[in-house]
Symmetry: C2
């Protein structure tokens, strides 16, 4: 089954306590695509500039990602520079240059229209909705967002949410979107916005999924949240893209399965944590470029051992 | 099997967003004893003042706690007042009156000397060591501490740690004691201080245990951490004593089992989370006074469902 992802493909300059990396290939759609590519076919829609060369495209092609939906525009690609010197859990942004992304208007090319799964990475909710509306028959849609859209573009965001099967955001974003300081209540508020499920990511503490009666059509509601672990790591080299890699692992696994059952959803959360844990082991997407399914499944087994009673 | 706990028995005045409670029965030894009493026999050593009456003692006696080691001194009991109005995860202390606790010098009475399990709640490490030395034949010892002792009494604390099978502390305390901002590295530093195991509590995100080759004598080392969940609650009424209740659930369950195996340790962590989740549902120790083993086991099953793949 194919997942279509729409989001940013970018260059990132990153500094962390472990060192620095200049102009790595980055962007939410890149991390998502690479992570999901270990599970299923991936198609990407994004805009890149003239600085995005065959060398960068080869990174995606090598993982079998369909890049025929990449729009090449005159100018420079989206560029972000940030550091994690004060806090590994939160980037300090130094520079954001939208460049070709500023006028991005995603169009789904004909060869992508039969995609059964759709991931709306963190972009303007107006664009998310535009893509969603071009894919009326898609089987499952997941999405991401961030404080900037929650605070300043809430009305537009609220039009996107009812079209999502699952929203993946972090604790801070969930409390901002749902209101208040209690995570369970915030999750309930967000579910009431029309989503089927919400996945809240806690960084090094894992992630929790909250379900509604719409989460698994035709099946009984799961009456409790589900919590998946994260891997305690001795060193986080570069946290950039961890959330998008989580989303790629989750949704890639789900898309590879014949049906969305509670068990598939839960295993997806474990695979999400697994791909997030790999992503942060090297700068940029380096680690995600050269994994094997055996390494991934070995870490999945470790996540199970780390969290399961006998 | 009997657990002996030494720590504070106190009165607490607490304010939280849910309301306020004046002079509740509290103290680490009280929360620990009540939580552990659902699993095994508990004996308590503490000092109380003249304001600690038969009514307070009845709370412990009703749960079968052996209070013959309570020292009744002239003066007032330890008193603490604090609030959680700004932050449910961290109390703001308004008043601490040590009162009779100031000159507390715990002595293990003869009828307690055959206790097989010992819990050293958060008190001066000099006193912890003093009790530890009176119990040379004890099978397993767990302990707690806090920032105050880690910062200001580190040398004394480092004399206690090698006598512990497991230390139970929270993230902040672990990073302070072990150094640095990485939890895994901090845990490894702390294990190198001579402990067998360390349990780091993450509040609403659960707890992680880290093991050494000494954790399970005669058995292979568990080469990875183990993570137990916590229960997302719609309302935390009063977080006071959650950590001590966690410790009581963990150690109470462990003490009730024939041997300390990895599986027993892991289940103990789940029971710790269960008892912590009950403790915060009411002010003070109210919820811990009136549980049933059926309620506890039902929540244990929920914790398993919340975290286990099929």
């Amino acid at each position: 089954m194919s997942i279509l992802v729409v989001g940013s493909v970018a260059f990132d300059s990153i500094e962390s306590p472990a060192g620095r990396a200049e102009r790595c290939l980055g962007g939410a759609a890149t991390y998502f695509s690479l992570a999901a590519s270990y599970f299923t076919d991936v198609r990407v829609i994004a805009v890149v500039g003239e600085d995005f060369t065959e060398a960068e495209e080869a990174v995606l092609l090598k993982r079998g990602v369909d890049t025929s939906g990449l729009e090449h525009a005159a100018g420079k690609s989206f560029f972000w520079a940030g550091n994690y010197l004060d806090n590994l859990n939160e980037a300090k942004t130094l520079t954001t240059e939208l460049n070709v992304f500023e006028t991005f208007s995603p169009k789904v090319p004909p060869q992508y229209l039969d995609s059964e799964f759709l991931f709306l990475a963190n972009i303007d909710p107006v664009l998310q909705l535009k893509v969603r509306q071009q894919m009326p028959k898609v089987r499952m849609v997941c999405g991401d967002t961030m404080n900037y859209w929650i605070n300043g573009h809430r009305e537009n965001l609220l039009k996107v949410l009812p079209g999502l099967d699952a929203l993946l955001i972090n604790d801070t974003e969930a409390k901002l979107l749902g209101g208040g300081s209690n995570l369970l209540r915030a999750a309930e508020e967000i579910l009431a916005m029309g989503l089927n499920s919400i996945i809240i990511k806690h960084g090094e503490y894992g992630a929790t999924a909250f379900f509604s009666e719409r989460s698994f059509p035709g099946q009984a509601k799961i009456s409790h949240p589900f919590r998946a672990p994260a891997l305690p790591l001795a060193e986080v080299i570069d946290p950039t893209g961890a959330g998008d890699s989580f989303a790629g692992g989750f949704f890639g696994y789900v898309a590879s399965q014949p049906a969305l059952t509670p068990e598939v959803f839960k295993r997806g959360l474990f695979y999400g944590g697994v791909m997030g844990s790999f992503a942060v082991e090297r700068f940029g997407t380096e680690r995600l470029q050269s994994l094997s399914r055996e390494e991934i499944d070995a870490r999945f087994d470790l996540f199970r051992e780390m969290s399961h009673l006998g």
